[in-house]
């Protein structure tokens, strides 16, 4: 089981800021496919992957990164701090 977090407009489109997901997805890319298939909100949130960023256990990662051992996955748009 994996904890999935959403921020900014991904959170708004999905309608929650976190959910627990049972998955056997091997990579971030696989997980995105599963999540996008859940419902309309998820589909909309994951529609444009060029403006999608991911962190695994609070470290930025690529979509090809493996999920083995990961407890927390966060999805969000490009950051706008500073």
């Amino acid at each position: 089981m994996i904890e999935v977090l959403y921020f900014s407009w991904l959170r708004e489109r999905i309608g929650t800021n976190r959910e627990q997901i049972h998955t056997s997805a091997a990579t971030v890319g696989d997980l995105i496919k599963e999540l996008a298939a859940m419902d309309e909100g998820h589909a909309l949130a994951f529609a444009d992957r060029t403006s999608l960023r991911v962190a695994l256990d609070q470290e930025l990662a690529d979509f090809s990164a493996p999920l083995a051992g990961v407890r927390e996955v966060a999805f969000f748009p490009p950051m706008t701090g500073g």
Binding site: S8, E59, F76
Partner: protein, 147 residues
């Protein structure tokens, strides 16, 4: 030595700058940067800043450690607010201390470039038509390439 604070409360820019300068033993050069909420002629009534607790502190600490290594800093400070901010409020500040000015300037710009695009903050502008997420700028991503 370094200090970082991710906080909802306002901070006193001048008081922080003075405390930082007083604590930076041996420094010859102090640079500060402060980002303020621009009202854009009334189009922006405020900001709402969301962040990722835990990752935010971790990401900023990593940037600061890297800035120390690259620029031989004597001290550094990052304060970044989240939550609701009003026009002209200070959003965040960075301060760097080094023996000479080139390193203090470069480190402050390095930290700003990374904070803009690699620290997990998301800004929403609140205007007369409601709230709108601020889009990341291409030039902010490009700015990282110089380091």
């Amino acid at each position: 030595m370094m200090r970082l604070s991710v906080q909802e409360n306002a901070f006193d820019f001048g008081a922080e700058a003075n405390a930082f300068a007083a604590g930076a033993a041996g420094a010859g050069a102090i640079v500060t940067f402060t980002g303020l909420v621009r009202d854009d002629g009334g189009a922006v009534q405020g900001l709402m800043i969301e962040h990722y607790p835990g990752m935010t502190e971790r990401a900023i600490a990593a940037m600061m450690t890297e800035a120390f290594r690259r620029f031989g800093l004597l001290d550094a400070l990052v304060i970044h607010r989240f939550g609701r901010l009003g026009p002209a409020d200070a959003i965040m500040m960075v301060a760097t201390a080094a023996a000479h000015r080139a390193d203090a300037f470069a480190a402050a710009e390095f930290l700003m470039d990374y904070l803009k695009s690699r620290a997990p903050f998301w800004k929403q502008e609140i205007g007369p038509q409601g709230a709108k997420w601020v889009a990341a700028k291409v030039q902010d991503e490009t700015a990282l390439k110089r380091w």
